[in-house]
Symmetry: C2
Subunit: 226 residues, 2 copies
DNA sequence: TAGATCCGAAACTGCTCAGTACCGTATATA
DNA sequence: TATATACGGTACTGAGCAGTTTCGGATCTA
């Protein structure tokens, strides 16, 4: 970023003198229709580039090329690079883990270990790379900051909070345990390991984190036995 | 960053056909001498800008202006923006905590708490901001990555390792404790809190981290009593 | 069929910024 | 004193990139 690609957030309310991007509510529009099935493809392309190059390294041409789309197509749908990125980040929120069908093994350790799945780990790694690429912009863009927060940060912590609340409710851990703080241990350490130490967040690391830090901090002693 | 400001690392060996920046070993050079007392001032200015703007937001003009120096003066001393930044990061290493005079209160908790000083906390916050500003570049620049590692990351972890080894040697914590992993808990969580959550790493947070996570994970139960 | 809008592709515009060149001045050696 | 270099300041150069425009072709409504 050189100046501020997020400036033009002042949306024209509805007058829409634009030839392009009219979005009149339900009026039958003239001419060829915009192919909205391409939106997610473009956003995914943006996320790929973002993860690889970071915000400042990402160019609209890269995104267009990867999505096999024209640059004009992108600008017909998003007013600026900044808005494209915000949308791309926000669209990660969908397809998140369902809170309804989280593991429920009866023990906190069982639940935490059950969360370790190859699929969700790849997913998490990519999200962290994206966050890393947006880090320097984050400080000066509250809207993007919010998007990152609700798409990446909060969901991660919330899952841990749910599992720990359950453990508290069934008496497995003490009511004195600071669940909000403890739920941030694994997101923090996984982020640090990925972005700073540049080491893999693999099953071994996560297990030793659970048994060596989280469970002891929750007041559960033995690593394996119930 | 647009392309790669770090390319020109191929230093001319010693022939130095340059008019500027000759640095002939000990030969009495002609003309006005370079004022090397300005080096640290310029590097400090670079770190300030880096912390505020990040790598891509930082311009050479900003650094020169803040250091009240000419742009040519900077380019006489560093071949590129990339090399300036690497030097600036590396110069943070100096003035680090002395391993010789770390707190030694007799308990791990006492030592960890004694590390919480307003001065070192401001210092740490600035270093984290700098790291955040360099995050997206870090992935594609091993040299800078190494500089960050030895100037910011390692020193932080090393202090914790020393204090924990002492605690182990005096029998306060079990030899089974994974000190290398545990020493990364506070750096990880402080980084996450500062850069991602954007909350202050204050005394209260650090105390609850020590009593709620680190000491329990080290197998020490009571928060206060020995 | 006619007109409007979409599409991908590519040329074009305008700005920012890394890096260079040059100025007048200050300070060093010989 | 003459020469060489450093200094702060400023103008310049060239590249990269956000955003716009244009084009030929496809697809929609009327």
């Amino acid at each position: 970023m050189t100046q501020n690609d997020f400036d033009d957030a002042s949306e024209l309310i509805d007058s829409e003198l634009d030839a392009d991007a009219p979005e009149a509510p339900e009026q039958a529009r003239l001419g060829r229709k915009r192919d909205h099935t391409r939106d997610p493809e473009i956003l995914e392309a943006a996320l790929d580039v973002l993860a690889e190059e970071g915000y400042d390294g990402m160019t609209i041409d890269m995104v267009a090329a990867r999505a096999k789309a024209g640059k004009a197509t992108l600008y017909r749908r998003w007013a600026s690079k900044g808005e494209l990125v915000i949308d791309a980040v926000a669209c990660m929120k969908k397809g998140d883990l369902d809170h309804a069908r989280l593991p429920d093994t009866g023990t906190l350790r069982g639940d935490l270990v059950a969360m370790i799945k190859p699929r969700s780990m790849e997913d998490a790694e990519r999200k962290l790379q994206i966050m890393g690429g947006l880090m320097s912009v984050l400080s000066r863009n509250p809207e993007l900051s919010d998007a990152i927060n609700s798409a990446i940060i909060e969901p991660r912590a919330e899952v841990n909070r749910i599992l720990m609340r359950r453990a508290r409710d069934r008496g497995e851990i003490s009511p004195d345990v600071d669940i909000d703080a403890l739920a941030l241990v694994s997101p923090s350490m996984a982020s640090y390991r990925t972005l700073v130490l540049k080491k893999p967040v693999d099953r071994e690391f996560l297990i030793s984190l659970i048994d060596g830090v989280i469970l002891p901090a929750a007041g559960i002693r033995s690593p394996v036995g119930a």
